[in-house]
């Protein structure tokens, strides 16, 4: 059983890893690369099942343990089913009830809720930043000052235009230096992890046992 549960998946990782690397560096394999590139998304397509499974499991457990919160789980399931059915049928038709329902759910429910939830973060990152700066040393004040200048610079007018120039400089010089250092570090880290995965050293993605 160990073969089916651990060794074969690990062997597949090594085989597909080496094949993926070879397809990038050997031009003769371009044809296979194109086929494999259209084959891989098929697996992605089904991976949504993991999300649905986790959500279903979480809400069923919650409904059992917290009966007073049951109504929210029911709302989640109803909105999931309505949107999924409207999308599955509506997106394949040019008109009709389901297409209209899907368009309306997307434009008047999904998009406004997403934008509102993201905009809500503006209030919370402000209070989180204030609490963080209050207790920290002078170096973290730099973050506050630089953030404040960029915020002012984005809406600068008249005599405040100096903040516009300063904001441009902060975004073009220190931010570029910091982010570039991070990007290089992240890139090297990803490459090292990828090599560890292909060599079978890194196996955490296979879960416990």
């Amino acid at each position: 059983m160990n073969f089916w549960k651990r060794r074969l998946p690990l062997a597949l990782t090594v085989i597909y890893g080496l094949a993926g690397f070879a397809m990038q560096i050997i031009p003769a394999l371009n044809g296979y690369r194109d086929i494999q590139n259209s084959w891989m998304p098929i697996l992605f397509g089904f991976s949504i099942a993991i999300g649905v499974a986790s959500l279903t499991k979480y809400h069923f457990t919650k409904m059992r343990r917290q009966p007073e919160e049951r109504v929210y789980s029911i709302i989640t399931f109803i909105s999931l089913v309505v949107m999924a059915v409207a999308g599955l049928i509506g997106m394949s038709q040019d008109g009709g009830v389901f297409t209209k329902l899907f368009d309306n759910l997307f434009s008047y429910v999904y998009v406004p809720l997403q934008a509102t939830i993201f905009s809500l973060l503006a209030f919370y990152i402000t209070s989180a930043a204030y609490r963080a700066f209050k207790v920290s040393e002078w170096i973290s004040t730099l973050l506050l000052v630089s953030g404040f200048i960029v915020m002012l610079g984005r809406v600068a007018f008249g005599p405040l235009m100096v903040f516009g120039k300063l904001s441009e400089w902060i975004m073009a010089v220190p931010t570029v230096a910091a982010m570039r250092g991070l990007l290089i570090g992240i890139g090297l880290g990803i490459m090292a992890t990828a090599i560890k995965i292909i060599l079978g050293i890194e196996r955490s993605y296979l879960g416990g046992e």
């Binding site: 085989i15 998304p41 949504i48 499974a53 630089s146 953030g147 570029v176 570039r180 990803i190």
Partner: protein, 240 residues
């Protein structure tokens, strides 16, 4: 009846927006309803997207085409892909959930190998190149810029001269800071810690301000929708 159908969905959008903002006061049932609707709708949307943008065009249509063109081996390979993808559904049962390791192992393995070269190109090689020279080919440590400043000592020339060296030294400091983050007594590593933090804090502050303004513009967008678009729809529909 027409007025109701015109007003209904925009009003739903307004009510949901206000329901989310009630969280600013405190966690409450109205916010929870809106939050759970968002969760359900998002997952439902992803299911529809996966079907129409992946399963149909990447699996069902190509497989049918390969069969009709007589390319049976390719068709079988795509069917195997679909069957391996279906193994994700084994997650619904604890006994069979180990089967989902197959699609995960193939995905992780393939992209680990496939992404090494692009990651090297985009994250490392191009970033190092951009740290050495400007897009026009001039060196970042161009001493001619300092010469220009000494010939004509203006604030603009000074900034132009120091920008390149600040980026080069900043990148080096950040790299040293992260690669030697463990306890280290080397004098270069110790001396570079504070300057590296200064660069990082200025950078993070810039990103923070930028993100904050992006969120604020979303907030303005929502307020604009309520107080301009929706009010206009309301007055036009009810007034007309």
């Amino acid at each position: 009846m027409e007025a109701i159908s015109t007003l209904f969905w925009p009003t739903v959008a307004v009510l949901l927006t206000l329901a989310i903002y009630t969280f600013l006061w405190e966690d409450n049932p109205i916010y929870k309803v809106a939050e759970h609707i968002f969760t359900g709708v998002s997952v439902g949307y992803m299911i529809a997207q996966s079907w129409h943008n992946i399963i149909m065009p990447k699996l069902i249509v190509p497989t049918t085409n390969y069969f009709s063109n007589g390319r049976y081996l390719l068709a079988i390979y795509f069917i195997i892909g679909g069957l391996i993808g279906l193994l994700y559904l084994s997650r619904f049962s604890e006994k069979t959930s180990w089967l989902s390791r197959y699609p995960i192992a193939i995905t992780v393995g393939f992209y680990a190998g496939f992404k090494i070269v692009p990651i090297w190109m985009t994250n490392v090689s191009k970033q190092l190149n951009a740290t050495i020279q400007y897009p026009n080919g001039d060196s970042m440590l161009n001493l001619k810029m300092f010469g220009k400043f000494f010939d004509n000592p203006t604030w603009g020339n000074f900034i132009s001269a120091i920008n390149g060296p600040i980026i080069v030294i900043g990148v080096l400091l950040v790299l040293i800071y992260f690669f030697f983050s463990f306890s280290n007594d080397n004098i270069v590593v110790r001396a570079s810690r504070k300057p590296a933090l200064v660069v990082l804090m200025l950078g993070f502050g810039g990103s923070f301000g930028y993100t904050f303004m992006a969120r604020i513009s979303l907030f303005i967008g929502r307020m604009n929708y309520i107080f301009s678009d929706w009010i206009e729809i309301l007055t036009t529909t009810l007034g007309g």
